[in-house]
């Protein structure tokens, strides 16, 4: 399988400030690739460098084998991009904006515009400035997909879309993927990435901390466990426990493994209280981050 996106040691600094550092990504043609990280982690910087909106400091970035800086125009013929926040020209109807957008490609996109607008229930004759955030986002989706791109780059695409429309949007992306399009899906919401992606890369503080298959991510589902014992704890050891923090009678840790084993271990303790929850994304990132810093083996890719 060929790589649709390939970055090697891609680095982008903003003067002395950090952007992204030595990012290695490989997105295969035909896959839906998730790119997750907290705000400010470097997702948009990576995407903007791929699109030639930012100039890399060092490293390489290629799309369909072409260099993202020197062959930018040829690349952009095959790329559809939806930015996280959509802004368009004032005093324009959606249909006029979309026709203008279509005029950059060497194909008739009229039928496709109508089809996508119908699917997303978008009123094409309305002025964009009079639209709600969600409808503006729909205009963005149509303009990103109207030329049937080979690569679709989505930067936090679901903000502003109601849950029903999110489902329609995910169906649409999966349909585009079945048509053969590769999708790079950036988000800070793990759930939505898990929903449609084949693989996922986790980025934190400008570095890729992990890349793995969604199936493996599910297999390695982490739980956040907190408990209070009836007497001060001397320690707590169990395979699958990470980031253990002991504080008197209290303990907290991340757990990955068989929940029955965890329950048995907890049941053996004189407990006052126990709390098992889904960790939020920040905690998962912290987990990967500390794991990586501690030199632990990476999870399978």
């Amino acid at each position: 399988m060929k790589a649709a996106i390939e970055t090697v040691q891609l680095t982008k600094n903003y003067g002395k400030a950090r952007g992204i550092t030595q990012v290695d990504l490989q997105v295969q043609e035909g896959e839906i690739f998730g790119f997750i990280g907290p705000n400010g982690a470097g997702k948009s910087t990576t995407i903007r460098t791929l699109l030639g909106l930012l100039h890399k400091t060092s490293g390489q970035a290629r799309i369909f084998g072409m260099d993202c800086e020197t062959q930018r125009t040829q690349i952009l013929e095959q790329v559809g991009y939806l930015p996280s926040e959509v802004f368009y020209y004032d005093n324009m109807r959606a249909i006029d904006l979309l026709r203008y957008s279509a005029s950059f490609y060497k194909k008739d996109c009229n039928a496709r515009i109508q089809e996508l607008a119908g699917l997303l229930e978008l009123d094409l004759n309305k002025k964009i400035e009079d639209m709600s955030l969600g409808n503006k986002k729909k205009v963005g989706i149509v303009q990103g997909l109207l030329h049937e791109p080979r690569l679709i780059i989505l930067d936090e695409p679901t903000s502003g879309l109601d849950p029903l429309m999110q489902r329609t949007f995910f169906d649409l992306i999966q349909r585009e993927n079945r048509r053969g399009a590769t999708v790079l899906f950036s988000s800070h919401i793990l759930g939505e990435v898990q929903r449609i992606c084949d693989r996922v890369a986790i980025i934190k503080e400008g570095r890729i901390v992990n890349t793995q298959k969604i199936a493996d991510l599910r297999k390695n589902t982490y739980k956040k466990v907190r408990f209070t014992a009836q007497r001060p704890l001397q320690g707590f050891a169990l395979p699958g426990v990470a980031d253990l923090q002991l504080d008197g009678q209290q303990a907290s840790f991340m757990y990955s493994g068989d929940c029955n084993v965890l329950m048995s271990a907890l049941a053996a303790l004189p407990l006052q209280d126990v709390d098992v929850t889904e960790p939020d994304l920040e905690e998962i990132f912290m987990h990967y981050y500390t794991e990586q810093e501690a030199g632990h083996e990476r999870l399978p890719v």
Partner: protein, 266 residues
């Protein structure tokens, strides 16, 4: 061509309004005000003698030439050029800062078109409007010259004098383009364009008052002297070269920045 057509569609109404105002002012000044000046020379001279010479100079009044058609046109030209400069710098700002103002740089710059082509299309669209405006301006000016007995000058001289507007506008257009490309934010096109045009007016007024030779090179409304053109059929070479170098330098700087600039997330 799509960017060229898009920019023309977005700007033609504004250009039409400015052209109408410019032509109306030209007509009023040369067809209505000039005959009053010419017929009331004695009273005008008496009135001007009451003012300090610096005052008249600041407003472009040259008592020795004001009663000739060429002299009056030169006086009028200062105000016509200020209007033309507001339009030209506004056009440069509007066309080249359109995406920046609407925060939609991403939209245009992720389209499969080299930035060189985008810059050229935008520039050509703006130049088309400037040239069309000046075609009408030149036509009206020539018609007025034909209808005015005092406007005795060869056709070539009249043409060059009329072209002073376009050439002055090009300097301001380049300034507008440069500001549009280099400024991080362009809040209002009209406000910035007015500031640029009136900034140039102040420099010109200052030079007229101080009579400082070096200041002439910083006085954009003196680069193309309409009175000299009407009399001799050409502009002062040093000033024309200064204007050309400045215009080209501004456009080249803007082009380099537009082609190589980075687009950060909004």
């Amino acid at each position: 061509m799509n960017v060229y057509r898009f920019e023309l569609r977005r700007e033609w109404k504004n250009a039409a309004v400015w052209t109408a105002v410019l032509l109306a002012l030209l007509g009023v000044l040369l067809l209505s005000v000039y005959p009053i000046y010419y017929d009331g020379r004695t009273q005008v001279l008496a009135a001007l003698e009451g003012f300090p010479p610096q005052f008249a100079a600041a407003f472009g009044l040259n008592i020795e030439t004001i009663f000739s058609f060429g002299g009056f046109y030169a006086f009028s030209f200062l105000y016509l050029a200020v209007l033309g400069a507001v339009f030209a710098s506004g056009l440069g700002l509007s066309v080249f800062a359109r995406e920046k103002r609407a925060k939609c740089d991403d939209f245009l710059l992720t389209k499969p078109r080299p930035r060189t082509a985008l810059f050229a299309a935008k520039g050509l669209a703006a130049l088309t409007l400037l040239v069309l405006q000046n075609l009408l301006y030149v036509a009206l000016f020539l018609a007025i010259c034909n209808a005015t007995p005092q406007a005795a000058a060869p056709l070539g001289n009249r043409l060059v004098a009329a072209l002073a507007l376009l050439l002055t506008q090009l300097v301001f257009f380049a300034t507008g383009v440069c500001i549009a490309v280099f400024a991080k934010k362009v809040r209002t096109v009209s406000g910035t364009a007015m500031a640029v045009a009136f900034g140039g007016f102040l420099l010109t007024a200052l030079q007229s008052i101080l009579k400082e030779e070096a200041l002439r090179y910083l006085s954009p409304y003196q680069y193309f002297d309409a009175a000299l053109a009407f009399e001799t059929g050409h502009f002062e070479t040093a000033m024309a070269v200064t204007a050309s170098v400045l215009t080209v330098a501004l456009l080249v700087a803007a082009f380099v920045k537009y082609r190589t600039g980075q687009t950060h997330a909004v």
